[in-house]
């Protein structure tokens, strides 16, 4: 069991290593091969046309934050659903399946109240 577990992750490690080599190799090859001539008009945002005024760093709308927030909360919810889904069959085989089912429905139900709140406050509308 022990070697099986770590053996499985060797595959993952190999893939991570290949990914790192691919990206690192591409960046290094770019560094090595590409000609470089810094300065001059290369630093302006547009090489032709009017020079931009002000910064390019605009404030994003708060709406994005609220969607990310909702995603995070329901992501955490999903984390608890995974082990539940894995063991529901086992729990029902020892006769406590209904209890565990209700437990999860209470959990999801409480979080659905939050979704209802978000909808009622109108933060989910994208105008």
């Amino acid at each position: 069991m022990l070697n099986q577990y770590y053996g499985d992750y060797i595959t993952v490690a190999v893939f991570v290593a290949i990914g790192a080599i691919l990206v690192g190799g591409a960046v290094a090859a770019n560094r090595a091969i590409a000609p470089r001539a810094p300065g001059g008009f290369k630093d302006v945002a547009y090489e032709s046309g009017i020079e931009p005024i002000g910064g390019g760093w605009n404030q994003s709308h708060i709406r994005y934050y609220i969607f990310a927030l909702l995603f995070l909360i329901f992501d955490v919810e999903a984390v608890f659903i995974f082990p539940w889904a894995l063991q529901l069959e086992f729990f029902s085989s020892i006769g406590s399946g209904l209890t565990v089912l209700v437990e999860m429905f209470v959990f999801v139900g409480i979080l659905l109240l939050g979704l209802v709140y978000a909808i009622r406050k109108g933060v989910l509308t994208w105008e």
Partner: protein, 179 residues
């Protein structure tokens, strides 16, 4: 405890630990010291990824993948959006840190904390037996959550609900006044 360095490097587990510890520590170090706030977030990803791999190497697969799912997948997104909204200052002259007269005592303080805690830990755990880390099946965690930890589990949903409502109420632009 008379072991040579060469013996130490014969063990695969030691290699794995060192290989995972280096990016974890380096990522944490750069998160704290980087002058660019976006880079700081990305180094945090490296550090958390290393920590997740560390959990896997400890045999705690579920915790490790939860770190990937929750931290790297969601919390980092929240940080990046937070940076976009607060228009965090970029570039070398961005004053992200305190002046050096504050930095030095702070660094010394945390260094001394590390030395103290590490010394205590090594003192307390040095004579423990060497144990292989058996993988924990996710089903065991599920059995524990849904039997003994049911009440904390339900309370968690209320905490999440409070966070959700609090976050929306704070971040939402008020209909009336507000700036």
């Amino acid at each position: 405890m008379t072991v040579s360095i060469a013996d130490w490097f014969k063990e695969t587990a030691n290699w794995v630990f060192i290989l995972l510890a280096i990016p974890t520590l380096l990522g944490a170090w750069r998160t704290v010291t980087s002058n660019n706030i976006v880079r700081s977030v990305l180094y945090l990803v490296v550090s958390l990824g290393g920590a997740a791999a560390m959990f896997l190497s400890l045999g705690a697969a579920f915790v490790g993948w939860t770190v990937v799912l929750v931290y790297i997948g969601a919390v980092i997104i929240l940080f990046l959006i937070g940076i976009m909204i607060t228009r965090a200052p970029l570039g070398m002259k961005a004053e992200l840190s305190h002046a050096s007269n504050v930095r030095m005592p702070a660094a010394l303080l945390s260094l001394s904390m590390f030395v103290l805690v590490a010394w205590g830990l090594i003192d307390a755990f040095s004579n423990t037996a060497i144990e292989p880390f058996e993988p924990t099946p996710t089903s065991d965690i599920a059995n524990l959550i849904f039997s003994r930890f049911v009440v904390p589990f339900e309370v968690v949903s209320i905490v999440l609900l409070a966070a959700l409502i609090g976050g929306i109420a704070l971040a939402r632009r008020d209909d009336g006044g507000g700036a």
